[in-house]
Symmetry: C2
Subunit: 198 residues, 2 copies
């Protein structure tokens, strides 16, 4: 008894998704082929289109389809303050608090030596170039308050202060161990207002 090769390939491809084991991948493949072929084709197109069109903003490093993202192009922003976040979701959370009118830099990760994630993986050179443009005077570190996020903030702080920049950190209004994405906007707003020099 042989499984059709295109079904095997689909199951194996689904397994490359984070958090999907062999049983889940098989269930997904069966579901798509049995009940949702339109969904399979739409997901196929969405994957191809995103992989082809999504790039990183030349200034803030977030996902965008342009060279410079909408936020970085926004003329109303305070160009002297730069907020450093781990992910686009974290940036969105901060935007929703309406407490920050500066610009962002999105690391797309955090330092994690045990997982082999070093300064290059969080685009530290790009951040240094961005932060030392002569316009930015303060960098607010808004990485998560996890061990890795704190270590990342510390490392970036040392690096940027050595280049004469003022560096601050969100206040510890955010619960220790908490991830920004899951914290309520009021807490983040308080932490932004209480940010302190590091």
């Amino acid at each position: 008894m042989k499984t059709p090769s295109s079904l095997t390939l689909l199951t194996e491809s689904l397994r490359t998704l984070p958090g999907i084991g062999p049983k889940s991948a098989q269930r997904m493949a069966y579901h798509l082929l049995q009940h949702d072929r339109d969904g399979a084709l739409q997901l196929s197109r969405a994957l191809a289109q995103a992989a082809e069109t999504i790039r990183h903003c030349a200034l803030c490093n977030t996902f965008t389809e342009q060279v410079i993202c909408d936020t970085c192009q926004d003329g109303e922003r305070d160009t002297t303050v730069l907020c450093v976040v781990e992910t686009p979701s974290d940036q969105l959370m901060i935007e929703q608090t309406l407490t920050f009118k500066g610009l962002y830099f999105v690391l797309m990760g955090r330092l994690s030596p045990l997982d082999g994630i070093g300064p290059k993986d969080i685009h530290l050179e790009k951040l240094i170039t961005r932060a030392t443009d002569g316009v930015v005077s303060e960098v607010v570190l808004a990485t998560n308050f996890t061990n890795e996020g704190e270590a990342t903030a510390h490392y970036i702080s040392e690096t940027l202060k050595a280049r004469g920049l003022r560096v601050s950190r969100l206040a510890r209004g955010v619960p220790v161990g908490g991830e920004l994405e899951y914290v309520d906007a009021g807490t983040i707003a308080r932490a932004m207002l209480d940010r302190r020099a590091t």
Copy 2:
């Protein structure tokens, strides 16, 4: 702050996968774009190819790229016995036991009135046509021993017996290696009622 439309579309498309909520979908989208664009393109191709090439075997209803699947084309099989299973995975499990040399019919589901899954969804007409070909003389019901699987077996049994076919069911009992102390009472009761001479 606007999320790029192709990223939004990708996240929404991933959410249509069974068991994937908004947070998981976003994490998957970020992972693919950040770390595995080749994986994204491969999954895109696998989805399109499977959706285009996978059909249901005209005889046994399983997934195949041909009109008739390899198993149904196998000349070594006993064409007088048909084993009814819920999914291709169940068929594979039975194949691995090497105890069955007949042919199969794959329901691609089980009756579940509460979920709106009726006889049409498990291809009952196709099964009746297959089982009444004049060659099949016995149908072995190997649906799961869940409430829904049992109800499905009962329904199919009544339908096929009314057409003069011999219908059997996998034996219920204590699992091989099972210790009575850890087997539920219902299973032991069934094993007692179904006890066989040795």
